[in-house]
Symmetry: D2
Subunit: 351 residues, 4 copies
């Protein structure tokens, strides 16, 4: 039985870790860390857990936690883990960081976009970017996982097959992303009030969202050359879900025509044929966030548009599951040699 | 492995049966019955089931189904099962009926409220009202279960302890109920369109909803005398969830004062102390539908109001789970001698 | 042209006053008072007002405001106006208070329910309870209006005709109320976040909501005897709207039968036949909040239930309009001798 | 007083025409045409209109209507008006068509995308595309207005200034559009049920939506050369509102750098400085659909991204107002020589 500690267990991502791990037969949470609810019953913070979780929230003491657990999930704001990480800790415990601290390999890029100084750049090289479908082998032996961001996970998995296959141009990519409000966290902010979000849709952080360099870094690797792209997130009046609508310029085949939808889908099917959590939808079915809600699935599909020479790549995902807690547990499973889908066979809930 | 057939597998309640049974280790669906989607892939009707359910929808042929399965769930409109039920069928297969056909023991009452003639009243006596917390022993040996209505389940479990304990008057009970829209089913009706339901709340079928006699029948048993009450359902802009706010006149104790909240809660605690799916909330915490979403829980609480001599009894439940498919599976578990919570340890999803 | 000052113009009720007064041909806002946004452009706080309102927010200085305006609306927390009100102010300016400070005539009751000391009880007698349909004549000459609470307005107008007509018992009344989330105000509180409210319904302040004594006070007057009742508010996932479902015991007629629906509706029709803003719905149509959204209407209807001897009284209203800003403007119109519906001919918006 | 007839008055766009015209001092609806509700009270179809509209629905008899009214609005499915339009009709009455029948000048393009034969192509040349900001002068004398589609209106007004100014490339434009559900109409379709739309977002008609050629036609005119672009609509869980996020490649200035945000905004400001209904937002404020709800406004803004050489053009609008009924009334006002904003000074409703 893997002993688990969660730092930030009372945020939405932390709470989703708890929900998922309650159904994980090989893991057991022994430390519910929190900043705001120390000494309060966890079930008093999240009423859904009443009679399920009996534990009391503890503080966020990483050192003490490391002595008691096998793996720590840090579901914390940027900078938290970077400011406390030590070699000593990593010798004691595996760490899966749900923040952005160790995702961006280039410390300058990190500091420019996140506007904070990185406190422990010495671990950047060791940290493995925990996109399981991409880095499965490296994750197996990792001590420190940088769990990918929600938008980057869905964006990358939507674009990756065509990028790797060399059938789209690396220049001119546009990612138009839509997210439910749980992605904004549980902080009591005016802009996240029910009446401000409901019956409303807006773009935010246009041309400046911090997930941009993370997506660019990963796609640059896939393309084998530097990628600069446009990423525009939108806030949608729903709790969960991310939808990615991405656009790229198609390359032409030797006969001078563009790749068509069937050919592109074939690439997707091949790329993901053994992936348990990526579903390439049939025919022209467009992904819908509701079809993956509560599950670790990412649903993807593509449509070629010969009129414009572009391809539209679509992806849907639950931001709290595959976009955060689910992928973190998937990483844990890989790191501990468990079957990758242990505890993650979550059937999407509909309606 | 229990072989399961579902009639009406493509309605919302049927789909919830499928979702729950996907996680049930001792049951296997072998017949996805449907009226509208015969020969279509089930996963093309419910996209969440893509890669999970490979089956094709069949018709609703009860006779044929009975040869192939151990238990049939009928998630069908009123009158369907009553028009087809035979002794022969019941000798072959256990039946759990999610419709109202066998809930009301008095056939005149049924015909008055449902405005159809009952086609097989001869089975009314045998049918067991499948409210597990009430009829567990009878369910164990039943061949035919009348799975309770959504409103009646939540109403009854909210009021039952105080009724049975004799601390409230049977006369003058008011049940003000609120339900999410999935309770209205998947039929394409104008009144259930997004734009008609969203940003709106209304009462419907005031003083005339068909669940009224079902609640009255069960509370009459608990009180030991005939009960006539007011039941008012409301449609709430959300997918899932039922909230019951019930009002009754408190009896006075020997000292001439009313029972107080603590005394009433003690009765609830005692009544439900061994129930895995009924949670008596702590202190004055009011039930919220979101805390039980996707689970088989019913959350209840009570507040006495000494100013008026009334008690307010509150209950929250997921209408598709404990209010339909979850309770049906709970019945199946009991009938087949399984642990009652098999496949039902569903952690509520939040947010 | 009436010169208007608004204290608390940046709350939801204040903003609704602004929206309504923009379409009022005889009034002009000259002071947008705010606590949190002093010196900021009003349109930067409420983007809908961009290019419509050019003004900058000022502070909440009542004394200074009184010199510049003809009427002040105070859309402020409890205690604000009571702590500042003076005879001098009232000699200079008419005041319409949207808080509860002057609604409850009995200062002890006020202090018990609101848990603050009343700072100026000397004005309680003078203050006119601004329920226009009830107190039109007194409002005409008033200097100080206590604008009714949202729940009390809709509750009272739903029950009043039958109470006054003497066809229902004053004892045993139950008011089950449902409100959209704008009623909770624009404060950044965890419980009002989108993800906490969406897909959820709950009762709150059960048997303890502060609007209870206000409703009781007004119904006591209508009945001519003290009324104690149960009032249970619920939070509904929608922006606007209040729905009241009220229950009372019917009296019997001389022939020993209960009043029936038609007779009760006749009473409603008569009571409201000249009221521009109360609509008695036809037949058995149940009020829906969406049908009054954005307007000053209250839609009401009643259903008698001869099985139980109770009547269900239903009412729907926009909590920000007739439940706050609209009624406040209606009061202003009466006080200044304008046509009562000036600026209030707001057509409900649907969908 | 202009006499108005509405064909299709019981659809959502028709109902919005009614709502707006109720507040129009110079127009009066004398014919509420409907296909499904003939002889029913209009207020029984739309409860918000109770006590406001007393009229009974009539049929859709264009000929008879033409004798009684000055202007006909056709809020009907594609093909309706084209199949009935005659020179005789146009000599009697002005027609504002809210369908797509006369928007596409090239009949082949129309027939290809709409998959129906055009029944009266002889009127295509005469029909004026009723985008008021663009064609104000032509509208003044028109007999037949092709009222623009909702997506095209918002897309065009977001992109037009930069297109006309020659600062963006005509090739490679991507329009990612999001719409509330009222755009899907009031038909009782499974996919528009509350439970299917709520908590969900999806793209639909990817690379094949019929508004594509309409946008291309108008932008081709603005650019002075043929435009082919990508248009992807999404369905958002809200009643009203369209948000456009459009992407184009910036041209470089003579000094080899891209136009920056300030320069681009200057172009927008200039283009719309005299437009009453287009609001260029200040600074980097992103448009939100909620800020324009219920009004005839379109809010626009732009952000240049020097990293990629693209510009993001944003626009928000109420699809039923400026995207349908509001613009139709604006066209009527221009055609009848009224002040253009008569009856359209609708203050957006928030929250």
């Amino acid at each position: 039985m893997i002993k688990v500690g969660i730092v930030g267990a009372t945020g939405y991502a932390g709470a989703e870790l708890v929900r998922i791990l309650m159904g994980h037969k090989d893991a057991e949470i022994v430390w519910y860390g929190s900043k705001s609810y120390i000494d309060k019953a966890y079930a008093s913070v999240y009423g859904n857990m009443f009679t399920i979780v009996e534990d009391i929230c503890k503080d966020d003491n990483l050192k003490e936690m490391a002595k008691q657990v096998d793996v720590i999930f840090t579901a914390t704001p940027q900078g938290f883990l970077a400011s406390l990480l030590t070699e000593e800790l990593l010798e004691q415990v595996k760490i899966i960081d749900l923040s952005a601290d160790f995702r961006i390999k280039d410390v300058d890029v990190y500091e420019e976009w996140y506007e904070i100084k990185h406190q422990s750049p010495e671990f950047l090289e060791e940290a493995v970017y925990g996109l399981c479908e991409l880095n499965r082998e490296k994750i197996r032996t990792a001590r420190l996982i940088a769990n990918p961001g929600c938008y980057p996970t869905c964006s990358f998995l939507s674009i990756y097959p065509l990028a790797k296959a060399g059938v789209i141009e690396s220049e001119g990519i546009v990612i138009d992303a839509k997210s439910g409000t749980s992605g904004a966290g549980r902080g009591a902010k005016l802009e996240n009030l029910y009446c401000e979000v409901n019956e409303n849709i807006k773009a935010y952080k246009v041309a400046s969202h911090r997930h941009t360099p993370e997506i660019e870094q990963q796609l640059s690797e896939a393309f084998g050359s530097p990628v600069y792209l446009n990423f525009t997130p939108h806030l949608v009046p729903m709790n969960r879900g991310i939808l990615i609508t991405a656009y790229a310029n198609l390359k032409k085949k030797e006969d001078g025509t563009y790749y068509n939808t069937e050919e592109l889908k074939e690439i997707l099917n091949k790329c993901y044929e053994n992936e348990p959590f990526v579903r390439v939808l049939k025919g022209s079915t467009a992904p819908e966030t509701k079809w993956v809600e509560g599950s670790n699935f990412v649903d993807v599909n593509v449509v070629a548009d010969p009129r414009t020479g572009k391809v539209i790549m679509l992806g849907a995902m639950d931001n709290l599951v595959k976009g955060a807690a689910g992928q973190a547990v998937q990483n844990m499973n890989i790191m501990f040699g468990l079957k990758e889908d242990t505890g993650l066979q979550l059937v999407p809930i509909f309606p």
